[in-house]
């Protein structure tokens, strides 16, 4: 029983990281109906910025987190402007392939400067409390609380601000809404900035929890987060959060009770089963096809 609670806590930690990344996928998808395959690699860049800020600038946790988030947000906006915006009216798949290309570019560009895995210094004094046999570390608490805080913040922005309203409007219609005076490009840039900075926050926290980072770390985590977004119903912000926690939970529990090599197998099989019964994810709705 204690073991189960311990694993649940670990699941919360991994799940909140997945959920943060999944949010980036889902926001971009909601607004551009495009899968930003470079997002996992932006997560990796976030982790590396954290590494740079912590190792070379010797900054404490909060400034490191902010540098990572702002840096990646800027990078995300630049990528959107240079690589995705010109393709807004091209076949949808060209943008997806471009995103794959951008992702590969980020990976290999980082590889040039960091051919070996890097070790991220400890930014948060690691205290561990044992409550009823379950050990809780300060890092775990910070990761979980910070993630949930960021998610609530985003949810509030999307639901209750003018910018959020504009985002939701654009995700419904990209032709009429700009005619009502909504600045399309600005809103898309803000969406990218928000989505990618959440990815960077996840990157920072991931690199604190699992301190060895390398340029390819974003691939697998990125795909998993993408799956979380799909499980929740892609385009749906609350769905992405739920999906992240579900996937994190499944992975940790499988690893806890079965040989760890079964982890991916079970996670992906569950995904397939879910898609059979709920083809549009847990909270997603099919877009009606008009005949």
């Amino acid at each position: 029983m204690t073991y189960l609670f311990q694993q649940l806590l670990n699941a919360m930690q991994l799940g909140s990281i997945y959920a943060l990344i999944a949010l980036g996928y889902t926001m971009v998808y909601g607004i551009l109906t495009m899968i930003n395959f470079a997002h996992g690699d932006l997560f990796m860049v976030g982790a590396f910025l954290c590494f740079i800020a912590a190792t070379f600038l010797k900054l404490p946790f909060v400034p490191t987190l902010l540098i990572s988030m702002i840096g990646v947000a800027l990078l995300g906006v630049v990528i959107e402007r240079l690589a995705y915006k010109p393709l807004r009216h091209a076949p949808r798949v060209s943008a997806v392939i471009t995103a794959l290309g951008v992702g590969l570019f980020l990976e290999n560009f980082t590889l040039v400067f960091s051919p070996y895995p890097q070790h991220v210094p400890e930014l948060i004094a690691n205290k561990t409390w044992v409550i009823a046999g379950v050990s809780i570390s300060s890092l775990q608490i910070i990761i979980i609380l910070l993630s949930i805080g960021l998610m609530i913040l985003l949810d509030q922005i999307v639901r209750h601000t003018m910018v959020g309203m504009a985002m939701r409007a654009i995700s419904w219609d990209k032709t009429i809404v700009p005619l009502m005076g909504v600045p399309l490009n600005l809103i898309i840039s803000i969406t990218f900035a928000l989505g990618t900075s959440l990815g960077a926050a996840a990157g920072t926290m991931y690199s604190l929890a699992f301190p060895v980072i390398d340029p390819y770390m974003g691939i697998m985590v990125g795909w998993k987060a993408f799956i979380s977004a799909v499980v929740g119903g892609i385009g749906n912000i609350r769905g992405a959060m739920i999906g992240g926690f579900i996937l994190g939970g499944v992975e940790i529990l499988v690893a806890a009770f079965m040989p760890s090599t079964y982890r991916d197998f079970v996670a992906f099989s569950l995904l397939l089963v879910l898609l059979i019964f709920r083809p549009y994810g847990i909270l997603g709705k099919p877009r009606p096809q008009k005949v």
């Binding site: 471009t98 794959l100 590889l111 051919p115 197998f265 096809q289």
Partner: protein
């Protein structure tokens, strides 16, 4: 697809234009010669036998040639799903893995070494059949799911295949199968490549192929125009995975070592890049995409790590300036069956012939 069929415009302009016109005429004559491709194919096959026999080029280049062939098979077969059918499959390496492992298990465990060279064609065929059967399974979700969700299904498929292989100790688990005999020779690589291109080309230019393309354009309308969309999807997936399996078998017997890691999502990404580089819905594009990608990777090898930085940049720039790839939805004349090229023309002639006596 009909860009090449437009009537030849002989714009007579003085000076530079005329010079260009001459070149254009040469080009037209070259492009419209229906016998050149078969002749070149036979010549290529003979050459592929002669090259290793007399060591005409160094073994490194022979190896590259075989990789080009394998990549052409992979690209053409994936193009059937991603280009002609308009779905976004990201798990092609999974089918490849099924083929590679089937063949490697056959040649390393079941078949005596002495018989290997003789049975190799059958082994490759078995690899294709195994992958095709798995393709049948993957086709079933495609009946109901489309677009991004089907992409996820193929992704999950790729991961599951990799994960299953990792968990079967009898076939090496995560360590893979070493010491595979080098059975893929240049003639075999050439033969299977030509066969794959020919069969997929033929399929595309049949009513089944048109059915597949109509799913890309508008699935509901396609169904309402009597296209059995389930059958068409099944065919596309099975043919595509069959040839991916064949490519996998050839690949395993060039590389001589396979492990689950070889067939992960990065391999699938490579194939995707070749497809979209060459252009969707085009046989010519698939051949060009695979060839250019493979050669470029080798040519840029001296750049070291920067090569891997440069390649994605090239891809991004190509997508920005040619979002449909080099030959997107267009076909070089050589690859269009003779009758399809002339159907309208022949019909009109027949009509005229029928009307002529009546006019007298």
């Amino acid at each position: 697809m009909d860009a090449q069929k437009t009537p030849q415009k002989n714009i007579q302009q003085p000076g530079k234009g005329q010079k260009l016109g001459v070149w254009k005429q040469y080009w037209d004559r070259f492009a419209s010669n229906r016998w050149l491709l078969p002749v070149l194919t036979v010549a290529g096959f003979i050459l592929s036998i002669l090259i290793p026999q007399f060591n005409l080029v160094n073994p490194y280049i022979q190896l590259i040639l075989m990789y080009i062939g394998i990549n052409i098979i992979l690209t053409t077969s994936l193009n059937l799903i991603n280009g002609y059918m308009g779905e976004f499959s990201v798990g092609h390496a999974g089918f490849m893995a099924v083929g590679a492992y089937t063949s490697a298990v056959l040649t390393t465990i079941f078949i005596p070494t002495s018989l290997n060279p003789w049975l190799f064609p059958l082994v490759v065929l078995a690899a294709g059949v195994a992958a095709g059967l798995v393709g049948l399974l993957v086709a079933i979700p495609s009946f109901k799911t489309r677009g991004d969700y089907l992409a996820i299904v193929t992704l999950a498929f790729n991961m599951i295949v990799k994960s299953i292989i990792e968990n079967i100790e009898a076939i090496g688990g995560p360590r893979g199968i070493p010491g595979i005999e080098k059975l893929t020779t240049l003639p075999w690589a050439f033969f299977w490549t030509a066969l794959a291109v020919w069969v997929i080309r033929n399929f595309v230019y049949s009513n089944f192929g048109r059915g597949v393309m109509s799913i890309r354009e508008d699935e509901i309308a396609s169904d309402l125009m009597s296209v059995n969309t389930r059958q068409a999807k099944l065919l596309a997936f099975v043919i595509s995975s069959f040839f991916a399996g064949i490519a996998g078998a050839l690949f395993a017997h060039v590389l001589q070592f396979i492990s689950p890691k070889v067939f992960d999502i990065l391999k699938s990404t490579d194939i995707l890049i070749m497809v979209y580089l060459g252009g969707i819905g085009s046989i010519t594009g698939s051949i060009l995409g695979a060839t250019i990608f493979t050669i470029l990777l080798e040519v840029l090898r001296p750049l070291g790590v920067w090569r891997m930085v440069l390649m994605p940049l090239v891809l991004v720039l190509l997508m920005l300036f040619r979002p449909r790839g080099i030959m997107g939805l267009r076909e070089f004349r050589w690859f269009i069956p003779h009758y399809q090229l002339l159907a309208t023309h022949l019909w009109r002639k027949k009509k005229e012939a029928a009307n002529a006596p009546a006019a007298d």
